[in-house]
Symmetry: C2
Subunit: 205 residues, 2 copies
């Protein structure tokens, strides 16, 4: 029935260490028709990355032109590189009936919320702060200062969770994955996404 | 985490032949903590029925007192028997954190919508009218007149589907069951149901 409805934009945020990346990967496995929202970036392409799949790689002047033309629904500069989400890309996917999963920080999500009112906002949470700290320390790659900074950042991100539509609590990967999949499955059953089906099959008003 | 949130009321309607009863039974199997909303009725108890489980069996004068006292969020008289849903029952379940599944016709659902704004409304649909007719004829228990009447009624019910939150299209029982379960699973992840969890674990505002 996918071709009978417009695509849904799922916007996912989480503090570092909540398991967002792993969960999103599981969603792409579970839903082969779910597409990754491809951002534009000025960051150099890394080994193995493919233009148009991982990112749309553009140079800074092209990016600036897109910013000036208002083509980005949200964009940000991080460590000297720019990242942006193009509104036309989201609109084309919606019209084509494709569901998109967009991983983005709270600030970017906030900008999207102001532009696309029927996007679905999902926040991935650790079960509590202590567990988040355990996970960040468990990586053993970061210094205490970096971990402290990540925890402070996490607190800031989590303070935004209240306005998201759904909270996926990642206490256990399998259960969190089921919850996340339920959100995607349920949103596809939303009456507002199926009004074309309703009108075509039953001609109700 | 169920004890950290208020219970959710799932209200389910469907035209006759859509498969609502089978689907609801599957939900009670899948979610052992999901409770059946027990209606009050003046209809005589049938063999095998248990008071307080299948229905709260009451006599007509008791029912009338409850109606007069405004205890029913919705009630109706069908073939001389009265059926009603008591508001206190729903409130107690919500406070106890119990999720309820209430099977009810569109008219009853409509009355509930006007009283309980955060109930979740689910409409079970056949894939199309032709399939609904096939299913009703397949029962081989009803006359053509009865089937014609059921189809007319179905049309009336389906004309109400547009205001429900979710449409569960029952083209295939297994897939429909997954969709229905996704709706229950997703609603349990709604931020508005988890605000206590958020406040307790993360003390955000």
């Amino acid at each position: 029935m996918n071709n009978q409805r417009t695509g849904i934009l799922f916007v996912v945020s989480a503090p570092s260490g909540a398991g967002k990346t792993t969960l999103c990967r599981e969603m792409f496995d579970k839903f082969p028709d779910l597409r990754h929202s491809v951002s534009f970036t000025t960051r150099p392409k890394r080994a193995g990355e493919v233009d148009g799949i991982d990112y749309h790689f553009v140079d800074r002047s092209r990016f600036d032109v897109m910013v000036a033309a208002g083509e980005f629904i949200e964009w940000a500069e991080v460590h000297g590189n720019c990242y942006g989400t193009a509104l036309t890309f989201l609109r084309q996917a919606a019209v084509a009936g494709a569901d998109l999963l967009l991983e983005i920080d709270c600030q970017g999500a906030c900008q999207i919320r102001d532009s696309i009112e029927d996007a679905v906002f999902i926040f991935v949470l650790p079960p509590d702060f202590a567990e988040l700290e355990r996970r960040l320390r468990g990586r053993e790659t970061d210094s205490d200062e970096v971990i402290a900074q990540r925890l402070t950042n996490a607190q800031g991100e989590i303070s935004q969770a209240h306005w998201y539509d759904y909270l996926v609590i990642n206490d256990n990967l399998e259960e969190a994955s089921q919850r996340f999949a339920a959100v995607i499955g349920a949103e596809r059953c939303r009456t507002r996404h199926l009004s074309d089906f309703l009108n075509q099959q039953f001609a109700t008003t």
